[in-house]
Point group: C2
Chain length 132, copies 2
């Protein structure tokens, strides 16, 4: 999150708008496909460059999700994720972040904990329904 000055760009504005309108935690290429309709010349490099800038601005965050590709999220307040074992979809988990956990661990162990990340795994309601 730097204070670097960036110019405005139509592509970047739109990328942020798209990210804010979805809770799908999209990949770069999903965003690219979306935006391609509006900017037929768009290149995937531009999408990546803008995602990097938006992260630097603190507007979005990158989610590490154990896949080979990154996902992005405009929901930047701390929250946990649920990842479906069947469809791979990611959902936000709306429970309080327990900041005590960091303190407890720091007391017990020789390292200073600044933050933590919890990912829950299981089967989402949609996939659960399809199984029957």
């Amino acid at each position: 999150m730097s204070k670097k000055k960036y110019r405005q760009s139509k592509q970047r504005t739109k990328i942020l708008e798209i990210l804010r309108k979805t809770d799908l935690h999209p990949t770069a290429s999903w965003i690219y496909d979306r935006l391609k309709k509006e900017f037929p010349q768009l290149s995937i490099g531009t999408v990546y460059r803008n995602l990097t800038i938006l992260i630097d601005q603190g507007m979005i965050q990158k989610i590490e999700n154990g896949s080979t590709f990154d996902r992005f999220d405009a929901h930047t307040n701390p929250h946990y994720h649920f990842i479906c074992d069947v469809c791979g979809g990611i959902k936000d988990i709306d429970i309080n972040i327990n900041e005590q956990i960091d303190r407890i661990i720091t007391e017990k162990l020789p390292m200073t904990i600044k933050r933590h990340k919890i990912d829950f795994y299981g089967i989402c309601p949609e996939c659960e329904r399809k199984k029957k």
Copy 2:
């Protein structure tokens, strides 16, 4: 974790041995460099193929660590990880896994939680010392 039958291979045996002897959570190429001394003909493809087999056998697990490369761990009982913001090193966190967490979340939310993963972030004692 399938029941597929695999033949024995010297390379695979040694890869598992190396993984069991370290707590560094190595990358594929670290293992490759190590093993190259003993098997000068070794190819990185063989390392990857064997790591995949060992995962399938449940002997090791892959750690997603937010980097561009995977790390591997022969320590397969459930445990948490600590990732140093400075050096990127991964350490095992030796506290009890709270299985209640999964149950509590499952009760509150529409999805069935089977397991969870917690990664703690901060600065490891070694890097903390170097800062001064």
